[in-house]
Homo-oligomer: 212 residues x 2
């Protein structure tokens, strides 16, 4: 009874609505599709849509949740002797090299990105997700180095790591939106990563080195 039919059905319904909505958005653009149309296409009522998704934006940016704590996870998972920044750089490097969807490097991401970039409401929603991730990362750093509440440094370092991620994905998004080949964009992104590492201050690069 831990996983009733009810739960499964709800998850399926939610996914179905999200899929239908995403397809419509990609096909005709975010603004050109109404909630009523989505509801009809998904064969549910408008109220049911709102039952699962608080706002229209959430229908498109459904997969944004695990991006919220990605940086935190990377930092928590850093290796012994590795700082937070170096762990993030390493993970980013790997993600870019493997054309990971985590950094937006997959065929078909272009259409997705294009829709996001041209709709202010979606850009805002992405920014909100990024903000949440930043807060999360700051808490993580604070906990990892056992910093007192009034120490401003964890917030600053979090800001720098967040900037790494954001600057990289922004560039990748821009590249993909131009319709370029993922591998070419990846190569460019690797160069950007090196450049960014070179720009970072030593104190940032050496912050929160894992001792154990």
């Amino acid at each position: 009874m831990a996983e009733g039919l009810r739960e499964r059905k709800k998850r399926r319904t939610r996914q179905h609505i999200s899929d239908v909505a995403t397809a419509l958005f990609l096909e005709r653009g975010f603004d050109a599709v109404t909630i009523a149309e989505i509801a009809e296409a998904a064969d549910v009522s408008v109220n049911t849509v709102y039952n699962y998704f608080p706002a229209k934006e959430d229908l498109f940016l459904d997969r944004g949740e695990d991006a919220v704590d990605r940086l935190s996870r990377w930092v928590r998972g850093r290796r012994t002797g590795e700082s937070a920044a170096r762990a993030v750089l390493r993970e980013l490097h790997e993600a870019v090299e493997t054309l990971s969807p985590a950094v937006g490097l997959f065929e078909g991401c272009a259409d997705f990105t294009r829709v996001v970039l041209e709709v202010p409401a979606l850009r805002s929603r992405l920014w909100q997700i990024r903000q949440d991730g930043l807060g999360e990362l700051e808490r993580t750093l604070r906990a990892e180095v056992a910093a007192p509440d009034d120490d401003p440094v964890p917030a600053l370092v979090a800001g720098q790591l967040d900037w790494l991620y954001a600057a990289l994905t922004d560039r990748i998004s821009a590249g993909m939106a131009e319709g370029r080949d993922p591998r070419e964009v990846s190569r460019e992104a690797l160069a950007l990563l090196d450049e960014m590492e070179d720009l970072l201050g030593e104190r940032v690069l050496d912050y929160a080195v894992r001792l154990t």
Copy 2:
């Protein structure tokens, strides 16, 4: 005829609407005030409000425009032998010390900030303004160092300078929103500034030194 009656009247009407709206928002909150109420209070029609302001958010964030190119102006106005980053740090230092409204250090900013922080639409709008400023700054840096279009560094340095400004004002906003004394918040902000300067990489600190 360079400054006809029409122009003056328009400016006055616009300002009047904005003032009325801001007062209502501060008094009762952003969401609790409708455009219709603002129009009535300002003694114009709803359509006239939309004539001057593209969206409700713009009624509250009317003064955000000169913030868009503040960083650019600071960079362009840097002294001989001074880098872009040092100019920004100097200007920020001065703004914080003089309790300049440019960094949100004035009595009464607290109410303003509180409204912004609790309404997603306003946070988004502020972020948009910040994004515009970032683009502007990147263009400025690119022009100042005569960088080729495919040089990624100006964008990265712009991101770092933008981060300086944003991290500082975020902290100040948070402090002011707590109702603390501006001078106390200012003192804390100065410490934060020193910390940030210390975290910046040398390459960022020395970018775009003015030669002439």
